[in-house]
């Protein structure tokens, strides 16, 4: 699987290259500035890209802008955005086109190699990987409102895990539930939120995220 990495800190860039190579990815490029990134994304069309939000030359949100621009010309181009801080605002912008293949994680998540590589694979396959912190913020700004308040604590946990982009199998592992129990919970959640049920994991996640965003 081809990966493009955009990160201006040499140590972190090098670390990411080694980490991904060790897990069987092919690193087709490692760039350190916004313009180079946009060029790489459009020319190399990598299976997945890992992009830092803040890049030279302006050290503002260069990486994010390049990612958004690339996805505008190539819809659904899988990109995983890394940042030192997460903002709902950025998450919304990334999810706005509703086409999946998008991830938005804190840089700390790289510490846990297994989970990080799992997230990269998920994004490459057209799924989503949202940082738990973003999801927590999204839920917090919805917390007081109906019908989210009507969810049971267990259903909330399932909703959180689902919004992060995990499949039923992954959720059942994380919450120590049987897969059928998870399926039951998700059906309940969809009924309570008034969403149309769907068997496709990715489509389901996008529906939930769109729902959460529309409320705030």
């Amino acid at each position: 699987m081809n990966v493009l990495i955009a990160e201006d800190l040499y140590l972190l860039r090098d670390g990411l290259v080694h980490l991904l190579q060790a897990h069987g990815f092919t690193v087709v490029g490692a760039v350190d500035s916004g313009p180079e990134l946009l060029k790489g994304l459009l020319e190399l069309r990598p299976d997945v890209s890992i992009v830092d939000v803040r890049l030279p030359p302006t050290f503002t949100d260069e990486g994010l802008q390049a990612a958004l621009a690339a996805r505008k010309s190539v819809p659904g181009l899988p990109i995983l955005v890394l940042s030192q801080h997460v903002e709902q605002l950025y998450a919304r912008e990334l999810l706005a086109d509703g086409s999946g293949g998008i991830g938005y994680l804190l840089k700390d998540r790289v510490f846990n190699a297994e989970q990080f590589v799992d997230a990269v694979r998920r994004v490459a396959e057209g799924g989503t990987a949202m940082d738990p912190e973003v999801i927590a913020k999204l839920l917090a700004s919805n917390a007081r409102r109906e019908p989210l308040a009507a969810l049971t604590p267990r259903e909330r946990e399932v909703l959180e895990a689902m919004a992060e982009g995990r499949s039923n199998a992954a959720i059942s592992q994380r919450l120590y539930l049987s897969e059928s129990a998870v399926a039951k919970h998700t059906a309940n959640i969809f009924a309570k939120l008034g969403l149309a049920p769907s068997d496709d994991d990715n489509r389901r996640v996008l529906a939930v995220l769109a729902y959460l965003q529309s409320r705030a």
Binding site: V53, R54, T60, D61, Q84, H85, E87, Q88, L89, Y90, R92, L106, K107, D108, F111, N112, K137, A140, S141, A143, R144, A216
Partner: protein, 476 residues
């Protein structure tokens, strides 16, 4: 009409107070200067100032002419030395009373406004009598004239305005440095108690891992996992600290998006409306951001609000921010330091905060920061008045004629004794007039060129001076 006559009558009736006051003032001044009874001086000044202030107030309400008080700012209270004594010149005092009195006396006697007031008091009855016919025939014009006369002696001078401005600037600078120092202390505490302590813990854990790794690899592995977790926590902590110093989204996106991000994170339903043509300077952005952040969290915490609206707009170089919530209202700036803190932050930019929070709500806070936005000078400078533009155009169109053909070229023809006179005016004149005419032509031409350059330049500079100075001491 009747009302105007009533006002004139009031002015004349005031003479009943003024004339005895003149007598009393004279006696007090003579006693305090000639006999050294200086304690009589401050009460005399106070009396006169009271009457002068009354006059200013009456004129403002009657004619709309606002006469600014010209008094120099009060001296600050005496500050004790390290040993607890108060020093005045070369004398030490146990209590602040005498130094304070000395400062006060000096302040009053050196303020030119004191003497201008006295002058006004002395001349005012004469002026009123002189104006009496005008008062009777044309009361409106009479009042107007009287207002102008009062402004002459009771109004502020460039010096007093500057002195007051210096005091104001010193106060706001002190506030700004104080709040900055407080911020620094808070950041230091956060880093010291949080991040630093956690890093020490991680270092110790790693040290333990180093010792264990050979004997007990599984225990070492467990410790390493712990260290990783701790480093994750440290990062979270650090992120919180950074957010308190300068939120990353503010640095990356500017005020508008940063406030939008705030709105999304707030438990309230916040609508954000931003209309800014260009980004304000970083310090202004930060002050505005933290003010909005504080107001939104206040609304969520105390006001039981459900929705809030933030409106950020600009008018020329002024920034205006309005935050409205539908909470309980009844916010009191004297309770809690939130609003006071915002005011302190805004004071550094001459910003003001207006709070409207009736019991039962809604609460509206309006912040106004004058002259803080960057402006594009070229487009914002007002155009030259039409008549000046015409003059400049004419100057450019004609200045070449005296300078070159009639001036320099004629001079060269004359120097090389060229016979052709063509249309060079100077060469047609009698010999003794030729050189003076040529010189005059050159001088005229150069003057015209200089004027053509100078008129727009002066206009721009005047405009710039007005823009650059908050209040304009030179044009009352």
């Amino acid at each position: 009409m009747l009302r105007r006559y009533g006002r004139v009558a009031t002015l004349l009736a005031l003479l009943v107070v003024q004339v005895p006051l003149i007598a009393v003032s004279l006696v007090m001044l003579v006693l305090s200067v000639a006999l050294g009874m200086v304690f009589l001086f401050p009460p005399q000044v106070r009396m006169v100032r009271r009457v002068a202030e009354l006059n200013r107030r009456l004129i403002r309400s009657w004619t709309g002419l606002a006469i600014e008080a010209p008094y120099l700012p009060k001296p600050p209270p005496p500050v004790p030395q390290a040993d607890g004594f108060y020093r005045h010149d070369r004398t030490l005092y146990k209590t602040p009373r005498i130094p304070a009195w000395n400062d006060r006396w000096k302040w009053l006697i050196t303020d030119p406004a004191t003497w201008r007031d006295d002058c006004w008091l002395l001349l005012d009855p004469l002026m009123k009598l002189t104006l009496a016919p005008v008062f009777l025939l044309l009361p409106a014009q009479g009042l107007r004239l009287y207002a102008l006369w009062s402004d002459l002696l009771l109004g502020a001078t460039a010096n007093s305005r500057l002195a007051n401005q210096v005091t104001h600037l010193r106060r706001t600078r002190n506030l700004a440095t104080d709040s900055q120092a407080a911020e620094m202390r808070r950041i230091e505490r956060d880093l010291h108690d949080g991040t630093q302590a956690r890093l020490v813990a991680i270092g110790m854990t790693l040290g333990a891992v180093e010792q264990l790794v050979d004997q007990d690899p599984s225990a070492a592995k467990a410790l390493l996992a712990k260290a990783r977790e701790a480093s994750s926590e440290t990062l979270t902590e650090l992120r919180r600290v950074i957010r308190g110093i300068h939120p990353p989204v503010l640095a990356e996106r500017g005020l508008g998006d940063a406030v939008r991000a705030l709105g999304m994170d707030s438990p309230l339903k916040v609508s954000v409306d931003v209309d800014l043509p260009n980004r304000p300077d970083a310090p202004v952005e930060a002050a505005a951001y933290f003010a909005v952040s504080e107001l939104l969290s206040n609304a969520a915490r105390h006001g039981e609000a459900r929705t809030a609206a933030v409106d950020i707009s600009s008018r020329e170089a002024d920034l205006r921010i309005t935050v409205t919530d539908d909470g309980m209202g009844g916010a009191d700036p004297t309770k809690g330091s939130g609003l006071a803190g915002i005011e302190r932050r805004l004071a550094a930019f001459d910003g003001v905060l207006a709070l409207n929070s009736p019991p039962g709500g809604p609460t509206t806070v309006t912040m106004h920061l004058p002259k803080v936005l960057p402006q594009h000078w070229a487009s914002d400078l007002p155009k030259l008045p039409r008549h000046k533009m015409v003059i400049v155009g004419l100057l450019w169109a004609t200045a070449w004629c005296p300078t070159f053909p009639q001036g320099f070229v004629a001079a060269i023809f004359k120097l090389i004794d060229f016979d052709e006179k063509t249309w060079f005016l100077a060469l047609h004149l009698p010999e003794p007039w030729q050189w003076p005419t040529i010189t005059a032509m050159i001088a005229l031409g150069l003057t015209m060129h200089i004027m053509a350059i100078r008129i727009p330049a002066v206009h721009n500079r005047e405009r710039w001076m007005i823009e650059a100075t908050p209040t304009k001491p030179w044009c009352p």
